[in-house]
């Protein structure tokens, strides 16, 4: 058999690696800013793009899609050619992929702080950027799959399996969750509303964690851990079982983000049971990673790369045990809407994604630049800062989450809420927020050392752009080839990329389909409530402002069926109440109180118009200890009245029963309602014009949750 010679091009590995370092730095800095915003609300200095609700999506998108995303591509562009013994398929596609992805990130960084958002978590990017993401993802896919097609290795290694599953699933998730009806170049409504939108979103959101933060990084683990330790993978059999079990089961678990919500019980139950069944498949990955180090533990003690991998993989194991526990309804009743979730997520991201990325880069840079790492001890310091930072970040937030949740649920002996004022439960945990910011600062200090270390190493070395390798051509004919191993059938499948991908595609489609199709096709899942009516044009504009300002990041609109919540917030939220909510605004965190029934006058949360006006302008004037940031620009900015007809037309297209030709009358109705609210404010001595954003927002807030109270 003739041996063929070929050359790997390290250019895009290097570029993606630089990008992951740059965006990691930026994304974590933004996260740190958000942490400080929560302690010092006035830190936003009255500037929208410094405000927590604007930079939180910037932080999440930056660390997920820019830091981890470029980390994935670094690994894929380095390892795929080497595992398959062929260069990447196309340098042109590589260039489009690299620059396209960075442009998307820049576009995200420009739009999100300005409040241009779809408000679905980790899917906030507005529709033109969504289109760009899909195009670039397809370009990446062509480059990746064509490399597989051209491979010289007969079989694909487990890292490649995980990247195949990643590509397919992310494509499906991203497209389905981002189906939007544009009303302008910068604004759109999702085609789903209320509880259906929530289900699609959390099917996406959960699996963004699964197939963007987990499966591709399992690929990273499967390549870089055995490479760095120079040890064989612990169990091939385990690779097979945990791979298929993981991708099949993961996709079902989304509804655990909506336990005790308006989602029907049966979908919640599927979310629970599949989350529990995820423990073993997830741990399969951890076991295969950690036990690969058997025989190399002496190296682990000395090598910062391996140390980071060990902590990373352990963090993966911890958070994939914690996740299923949080998906038990009784635990979720306590943990949901609290900082427990934030702690849980950061064990995964700071630990698993962060540590694996740092380890990978520390391993790669000396090889890419043909030199030694500038300072091993600096890398060791980074390791300790990152590990301690992670603990200082997470542990206070566990305390914060549990403390606050217990306070929310506490009743006095006489049967009244022990802490009727939500703010009390916030001030109680502020010291823990400060500790979290300290932990984040430690972790970020480590990142600074990382950047310096890599910088110095790069400066001392010389970039090795091309690397020669050789391998025999692939045997094309596999007919009759005997595979006598126990897993022979799977071994055959590993040689058939198309069949393998089709099987993976089927495996990831089933769960979503079983949960979502009945939610859309069977009416009883969203029982109609006659009293629920479409929003008035002014309320609709106010709702879009609520979305744009990111209010959902701190205020839920989902009253759960517990006495402690119905006492505080009113009747629990019903599925039928959200049928005109494009997009849904359930939220996932209560840094402030729930607003689902903010407009109901007979409930404890009700506030008059003038209170809302004063509160948006200067929350600390109303409650000295409040950590809500001021939103003074709502008072000066004008409502985009001209957009109203297009929005109403879009709503009609989506099935909202406005009268025929209502788009033409909407502006008139908007002005009448705005005048009434402004007049009311002026009577309280507030000087305000009819056309300010605050008027629309007040209209929306005063409408919230009122429909089903009208008959009472």
């Amino acid at each position: 058999m003739s041996v063929e010679r070929f050359t790997y091009d390290n250019k895009f590995t290097k570029l993606f690696m630089y990008a992951t370092i740059l965006w990691g730095f930026v994304g974590m800095l933004v996260g740190l800013t958000a942490a400080f915003d929560l302690i010092f609300p006035v830190l936003n200095a009255g500037i929208p793009w410094l405000t927590f609700s604007h930079i939180r999506p910037l932080h999440t998108n930056a660390v997920i899609f820019a830091f981890v995303g470029n980390g994935i591509f670094t690994a894929v562009y380095y390892a795929t050619p080497r595992l398959l013994k062929t260069p990447m398929y196309s340098k042109t596609l590589g260039a489009i992929h690299f620059w396209g992805w960075q442009l998307i990130i820049v576009a995200a960084a420009l739009t999100l702080p300005l409040g241009l958002t779809q408000s679905k978590e980790y899917a906030e990017l507005i529709w033109p950027i969504d289109v760009a993401v899909v195009i670039i993802w397809v370009i990446f896919g062509i480059n990746f799959f064509m490399t597989i097609v051209q491979r010289r290795m007969k079989h694909m290694y487990v890292a490649i399996w995980f990247w195949i599953a990643t590509w397919i699933t992310v494509a499906v998730l991203y497209i389905v969750n981002n189906l939007q009806l544009p009303t302008s170049l910068l604004h759109s409504y999702p085609i789903y509303a209320g509880v259906q939108d929530a289900l699609v979103q959390w099917w996406y959101g959960h699996n963004a964690v699964a197939f963007f933060l987990t499966t591709p990084y399992l690929g990273v683990m499967y390549y870089f851990v055995p490479k760095a330790a120079n040890r064989p993978i612990y169990s091939y059999k385990l690779s097979i079982i945990h791979f298929w079990a993981l991708i099949f089961i993961y996709i079902w678990a989304g509804p655990h983000h909506l336990l005790y919500s308006a989602l029907p019980d049966w979908v919640q139950a599927l979310g629970v049971v599949f989350s529990i069944m995820l423990i073993a498949p997830s741990w399969g990955g951890m076991i295969n990673g950690l036990l690969t180090l058997r025989g190399a533990w002496d190296k682990v003690r000395k090598d910062p790369v391996l140390k980071m991998f060990v902590v990373g993989v352990t963090a993966y194991g911890m958070s994939t045990f914690e996740g299923p526990m949080l998906a038990l309804k009784s635990v979720n009743a306590l943990s949901h809407f609290t900082d427990w979730t934030i702690a849980h997520v950061h064990i995964g991201t700071l630990g698993w994604n962060g540590m694996l990325t740092f380890g990978m880069v520390y391993w790669l840079v000396p090889r890419l630049f043909s030199t030694k790492l500038f300072s091993r001890s600096l890398a060791n310091v980074h390791f300790w800062l990152a590990t301690l930072g992670m603990l200082f970040f997470a542990i206070p937030l566990y305390f914060a989450g549990i403390t606050q949740s217990l306070m929310w649920k506490q009743f006095t002996d006489a049967g009244y809420l022990a802490y009727p004022n939500f703010l009390e439960t916030v001030t109680q945990i502020l010291p823990m927020y400060a500790m979290r910011a300290f932990g984040g600062s430690l972790y970020f200090t480590g990142v600074i050392l990382f950047v310096i270390n890599i910088w110095k190493t790069v400066a001392a070395g010389k970039f090795v752009r091309y690397e020669e390798d050789q391998a025999p051509a692939r045997e094309i004919d596999t007919h009759g080839a005997k595979e006598n191993l126990q897993w022979g059938w799977h071994r055959k499948l590993e040689g058939k990329a198309v069949k393998f991908s089709v099987f993976a595609f089927i495996a990831i489609l089933i769960g979503g389909a079983v949960e979502m199709i009945p939610m859309f096709m069977i009416k009883s899942n969203v029982p109609t409530i006659a009293a629920v009516k479409p929003y008035t044009p002014l309320e609709l504009q106010g709702r879009d402002i609520y979305v744009s300002e990111g209010c959902y990041l701190c205020h839920s609109q989902m009253i759960r069926p517990f006495r402690s919540e119905t006492e505080r917030y009113g009747e629990y939220t019903k599925a039928g109440e959200g049928v005109y909510d494009f997009p849904f605004q359930y939220g996932s965190k209560r840094t402030g109180p729930d607003l689902a029934r903010e407009g109901v006058q007979s409930l404890p949360n009700y506030k008059p118009d003038s209170w809302h006006y004063n509160h948006m302008l200067d929350p600390q004037k109303m409650n000295a200890e409040s950590i809500m940031p001021p939103y003074p620009w709502l008072i000066t900015r004008n409502i985009d009245i001209a957009s109203t007809p297009a929005k109403i037309r879009a709503m009609i297209k989506l099935g909202v029963p406005y009268p025929k030709n209502y788009a033409d009358k909407a502006v008139g109705d908007l002005k009448v309602q705005a005048h009434k609210i402004a007049e009311n404010l002026r009577q309280s001595g507030i000087k305000v014009d009819d056309n300010k954003e605050i008027i629309a927002l007040i209209a929306y807030l005063q409408r919230l949750g009122t429909d089903i109270y009208k008959d009472k």
């Binding site: 595992l83 290795m153 290694y157 499967y222 390549y223 055995p226 490479k227 040890r231 064989p232 993978i233 612990y234 169990s235 091939y236 059999k237 385990l238 690779s239 079982i241 079990a245 019980d265 139950a269 629970v272 049971v273 599949f274 529990i276 069944m277 423990i279 073993a280 498949p281 036990l291 058997r294 025989g295 190399a296 309804k329 002996d413 006489a414 049967g415 009244y416 009727p420 009390e424 006598n484 191993l485 069926p561 517990f562 006495r563 006492e567 629990y572 006058q601 007979s602 409930l603 404890p604 009700y606 506030k607 008059p608 118009d609 003038s610 209170w611 004063n614 109303m622 409650n623 309280s684």
Partner: protein, 201 residues
């Protein structure tokens, strides 16, 4: 015969990893990465089986037996029913007298409630902003303890004043009313709201 042959062929598929004495699978070499032929750890297998068993039992309980503890509205109704029953017992036979309280403990409790709840609209010093000034002699709904108690209890919904009968106990409402009348009346707030209502001497 067949079994023996299989076994022989199987043995040829392996080499031994010297550090762990585990079998390496022949032909599995990806860029230098080898794979071992280790079995699934038994505890891992059992973990997987147990979670699957949990899932099956959980599903049967919900889908077949409609277990009330898995149906959230049933759970909620049960929680409310048990509270209402115990609350009815607790409240039975108790009467409450509306009367100004001047003892230290009551006024301290009243002050606490004032700062936690009322200050959001009436300001911490009682000067008023969204709600009226509580320090002057002008009252919209009367100035007796009974008048104030009624306002706090039932609210003035049209004007934005909430009803607190479901949030604060009778005693707590009386505490805060007493705090207003005993402590806030006659003080000088930083930014007093203009007088509203009728003057009472």
């Amino acid at each position: 015969m067949d079994k023996e042959k299989n076994h022989l062929q199987k043995d040829e598929e392996y080499e031994i990893d010297t550090l762990t004495n585990d079998r390496l699978i022949k032909g599995h070499d990806y860029d230098g990465i080898r794979e071992l032929d280790n079995d699934l750890p038994p505890w891992w297998k059992w973990l997987f089986y147990i979670t699957i068993a949990f899932a099956i039992i959980y599903s049967i309980r919900l889908f077949v037996f409609k277990a009330p503890d898995l149906i959230q509205n049933d759970e909620y109704q049960k929680e409310m029913a048990s509270f209402n029953a115990s609350n009815a017992v607790a409240k039975a036979g108790k009467t409450f007298e509306v009367k100004l309280l001047t003892d230290k403990a009551s006024l301290a409790k009243g002050s606490e409630i004032w700062h936690k709840i009322c200050a959001a609209c009436h300001m911490a010093d009682g000067g008023g902003l969204v709600g009226p000034n509580m320090t002057d002699k002008y009252w919209i709904h009367g100035n007796t303890p009974r008048d104030l108690y009624n306002v706090v209890t039932n609210g003035v919904i049209a004007k934005g004043m909430l009803s607190y009968k479901d949030q604060l106990s009778d005693k707590a409402r009386m505490d805060v009313v007493s705090y207003i009348l005993v402590k806030l009346q006659g003080t000088k707030p930083a930014h007093p709201k203009a007088p509203q209502g009728k003057k009472y001497e």
